[in-house]
Symmetry: C2
């Protein structure tokens, strides 16, 4: 049976994901804000604290919680190391605090407190028995209490701050309650929270008909750094299979010289731990990564756990694959669709454990070569328990590792992967185009409880996704989607060259596949085209770097507008030191104007005073008054206002009456 | 390490309260509707089932779940016994089902399935090895598969329903996943879900100046039964202390003959297991209870765990009480307020275990005398772990026991008690008087997740609560609050005689105390007064008995009205066999009219056809069309419409165009 005198209840501890089943996520340097509902029967005073430790520490650190309205208690602790932190809440009734609260009320009411003083003195004597070398000072206070008169005059003097501190310090916390399971926080590097990603195919960085290599790709790095991006992401860099290789536009039979899909991984030249010899050597790749680092860019590689029929593992470990009734290897399929250049791993293999180790080793191999940012292809077609094991396993050695989940699938799976450790998640943003779609979905993404574990990465396009909106809206459609992705999302990405150049032609009407997609052929891009969005990208990425409000996801508020094509929203830091208001014309075809309604209270502005809206994009600077203001925008354009209100100074009042 | 091939995830299982930390509540005869989010990686077909058992059973029963949108699965199980049920979900991938799904798509697409047929036959052979005496029939089907042609023609014949049933029956459910902890359901008697309660003081049933007794109270039972109530609730029936006894209107000193507060429990005549000799003997009380039962009434008694200074336990078990520095007993107080006729138990007593047993014994004592409905006074001033232990302990012997928590306190405590087993809860209804207050609060009370464990009991008034609204609104205020309580709440109650007679005078302006409260003195009530609400009570209770929609809390919808004084809401059974729409004028002073907007889709009505609204209260019967209709009501009156739409018959179409 339990200790029936542990009377304090601790509920609704946050941050937590499914009562501790999964960790919440933070980045290094954060203060984790902790809250809980803590109460007991009756009127006793409580003391509550959070105990926390980094996984490498054995001792707990302690920080006090403070009470707020309706039994809510708040506090926090810093997370200044990568890895896992654990925390729990401890709370107990404080007999001395309850006594002090009571006698103070009685003294105020003019009651006789002679007996209460004796009771308090007894509590102090009891406390002194736990107080070691401080016992004498506490006993002195007990004696002084006994000598006070029945009206309690002088209580404040007897119980000065020094005595109260001692009494608190030696609180035996009798019958203390602990919150249930220890809760976990995974602390990741800052780049997990915000970053601008740019995807390109190294083989498309050549010129004059020669395919690109890691060497030619290095000059592309300068372009991308110049646009202000933070992360360069490369599709799989491994050897490409030849069996059933696909030709341009997904042709079932490749012609000689066709390079094949980088996602058909493995050839006699190697598998997931090798580089495609057409791109260069491992040394070339490392030089490419070193150049990126010089330019301030992180390099992310694509980890796609599937094999071409020529992958060395297929002969080395046939037990990790499924075979058909005739003994042939089973290709990937989603009946009636077949993917004959790709073979999936069999995660129900009797040697699943060996397979897991092999795949984990792939991440560790690349991490040992300096790559710790991974875009994971189709993680939802591999077992969820596998990821739940693998990600912490990699992070044990490389706590700086970042995993981006490419799971364009049903919500339970998308969320399930994020809970199991993926740092960031692709999501449905590409298909949220109207005002209500965007407002509803982004509100969902940035609200509790999902935001504790799922960090959205907003992509305008991918090699698989050229949306109807982009196909039909011309250059303004690309501008609008870029502006939305880069200002709604702390993390966003573009599949670079085709996006930058507003490439809009689909392979077939009604599909989202690119015509002449880089997935199956080498392209050359004219990055100096007058159609390019490079100046817009440059400017917006620079604004992101200058504004902390745009580098976090949690503080987002959509604001009313009387024109559904004029989207208006605010992002702000919690302390309101940085407030950015964005208005975008999401109609790629027509100019639109409308009144937007700013939330001055949310901004902490004095509604009676004017304020300045400075357009960081267009350069205009407006003095506004009141919440309602008019904006008018060309197709696909936006204002990115930084909002400021200065307190009035004497100079502002120089007019006499 | 886990079994890595258990690839099915089971999440968000409902009903559950805090992931199984507390049980959900149902009544006997319910079907528990179960839902869960269940998914795996990739495209495999799943099989999912719920396992459930009554606490007295050792074997699990099984019922299949069926899939719905977005990985949600639904099913249910019946609870036909009082007590606790346990359930959990089991799910696994179904290789044969996945194979069948795939080959069917391929045959539809005209693909060669020769190898697939061989693969399926191998799966059947494997299944046959688990099939005992059915093995031969499954092997025959395998052989038949092997003999089909490459286009798969005839697959349907080979895999008829009989074969598929056998295959499913012998599914080894390899690598099956189980949902986490077993979830619990507490099954209570029907009266836990709905009932109309009437509170009265037996001592106020006398006449001509003689105080009432259990004998005179028996004639009051006929009155209450005649009004259509279900439960009679009596304030504490135990001996009343004399030390520091309170006089009329809470006077600090009682005069000789003053009866004292029934909540100051205990005298030389006994404590919590005795009856007040002024009311009669235990035999008299049991005769009273028997009479109530004859009239179809349940009797609820008040259990108030506190003592008068004269309670026998104070001398028998001084260790269960707190003493002051001079050795005197510590009275109840909430500084600077003192309650000198009452002594609290000390739940931090070293012998807390003995105290718990004593108090639990009190419930068991009364249960052994036929009382299993308990109104518990101030449960929030006793430890929550105590209740969490006590309620199941009582229900182990008396699973029909019902506990109503009187905790007019902060939300965390109100909810905390309900989670720990109280069947019903007093709540903030008395202070929710305006339209938005009522709509917001009742929506909260009837929504997830709280409704799984907290059953609200809506009280119009109590001996402690004569609200401002009742004090100031005259008879129409009493009518409106009665109508609201009885039609919004499946459970509701009135502190009877003063409510019935519209007694509205407070002891002091600004308080909610009754003048000349029965708490401190004997009253006589003229139940034949022309002011009485008895006809309204009779009619509304009869309507409740005739309409299942009013005897449940979960299906409540507030409907728009263009006049804030005209509240409009619908209650309905899940199958829509009973739909009741209530409109109440909540302004006790003026007549109001307004248009209300019915939700015909919610009712399952054909919006193009007319329907009938029959006023069960006023008798009117209206043929309405469309959602918008006009109502007009005198102060404090209501319509209680039952809504019906009959399908058109041939007769309705007798006019030839």
């Amino acid at each position: 049976m339990v200790e029936g005198r542990s009377r304090v209840l601790i509920e609704s501890v946050n941050p937590s994901v499914e009562q501790g089943r999964f960790p919440a996520k933070r980045i290094i340097g954060d203060i984790v804000e902790v809250e809980a509902v803590i109460f007991t029967d009756g009127h006793d005073q409580l003391r509550c604290e959070v105990h926390f430790r980094h996984e490498s520490a054995t001792d707990w650190s302690v920080s006090a919680l403070t009470a707020s309205f309706n039994d809510r208690w708040y506090g926090g602790f810093p997370v200044d190391r990568l890895g896992r932190y654990y925390f729990r809440i401890r709370a107990w009734t404080d007999p001395f605090g309850s006594w002090l609260y009571g006698i103070t009320r009685k003294i105020e009411a003019g009651q006789d407190v002679a007996l209460d003083l004796r009771g308090g003195a007894a509590l102090l004597d009891e406390r002194a028995s736990h107080a070691g070398s401080d016992a004498q000072r506490i006993r002195l206070a007990a004696g002084a209490l006994r000598s006070l008169s029945a009206d309690g005059a002088g209580l404040d003097q007897v119980l000065g701050e020094d005595v109260l501190d001692l009494v608190a310090e030696h609180d035996p916390a009798e019958f203390a309650s602990l919150s249930g399971a220890e809760l976990e926080i995974v602390v990741e590097p800052e780049r997990a929270r915000h970053g601008a990603w740019y995807e390109f195919f190294p083989r498309s960085t050549g010129s004059g008909g020669s395919p690109g290599t890691f060497k030619t790709a290095a000059s592309m790095l300068e372009h991308v750094a110049g646009l202000g991006f933070d992360v360069v992401y490369l599709p799989p860099i491994h050897p490409v299979g030849t069996t059933n290789r696909k030709g341009p536009n997904n042709a079932l039979v490749a012609k000689p010289g066709d390079p094949g899909s980088p996602w058909a991984i493995g050839s006699p030249a190697g598998g997931h731990r090798s580089v495609n010899p057409d791109l260069g050597t491992l040394a070339d790749f490392k030089a490419f990564v070193a150049r990126a680092r010089e330019l301030g860019l992180d390099v992310a590689i694509d980890i796609a756990f599937q094999c071409s029929p020529d992958h060395p593992l297929i002969t080395e470990h046939p037990e990790w694959f499924r075979h058909r009734a005739d003994g042939s290897i089973a290709f990937a399929e989603n009946p009636p669709k077949k993917y004959e250049d790709v073979v999936p791993f069999d995660f129900e293999s009797a040697d699943w454990r060996g397979l897991w180790d092999e795949l984990c080793g792939t991440f560790l191999f690349w991490a040992s070569h300096g790559i710790t940012t991974f875009r994971v292809d189709n993680p939802h077609t591999k077992p969820f328990p596998f990821w739940e094991w693998l990600i912490p396993e990699v992070k044990r050695q490389y706590p700086e590792a970042i995993f981006l989940a490419e799971a364009f699938t049903r919500p339970a799976l998308l969320h399930g992967l994020a809970k199991r450790g993926f740092s960031q998640s692709y999501n449905y943003f590409p298909w949220r185009n109207t005002r209500s779609e965007i407002e509803t979905y982004l509100t969902e993404l940035t609200s509790l409880p999902g935001r504790e574990y799922l960090r959205p990465s907003l992509w305008t396009n991918t090699p698989d996704i050229l949306t109807e909106y982009l196909q039909s809206g011309g250059r303004p459609a690309f501008m609008a989607r870029f502006l939305l992705a880069a200002t709604l999302g702390a993390n966003y990405g573009v599949y670079g060259p085709p996006f930058e150049l507003c490439e809009a032609a689909p392979r077939d009407p009604g599909t989202e596949e690119y015509l002449d997609s880089e997935k199956y052929q080498v392209r050359e891009w004219d990055l100096d085209s007058p159609w390019s969005l490079k100046h817009l990208m440059q400017r917006v990425n620079a604004i992101r770097r200058g504004h902390a409000a745009l580098r976090q996801d949690w503080n987002l508020a959509f604001l009313p507008s009387d024109n559904n094509q004029v989207l208006c929203y605010a992002k702000f830091t919690t302390d309101r030191a940085d407030i950015v208001v964005i208005t975008v014309n999401i109609d790629p075809h027509f100019r639109h104007g409308g009144h937007v309604e700013l939330d001055l209270e949310l901004f902490g502005f004095d509604a009676a005073e004017s304020y300045v809206a400075e357009d960081l994009l267009g350069g205009g600077r407006y003095i506004w008054e009141g919440p309602r203001n008019y904006v008018e925008l060309d197709p696909g354009t936006a204002h990115i206002f930084v909002m400021r209100q200065h307190p009035r100074t004497e100079r502002d009042f120089e007019n006499f009456q």
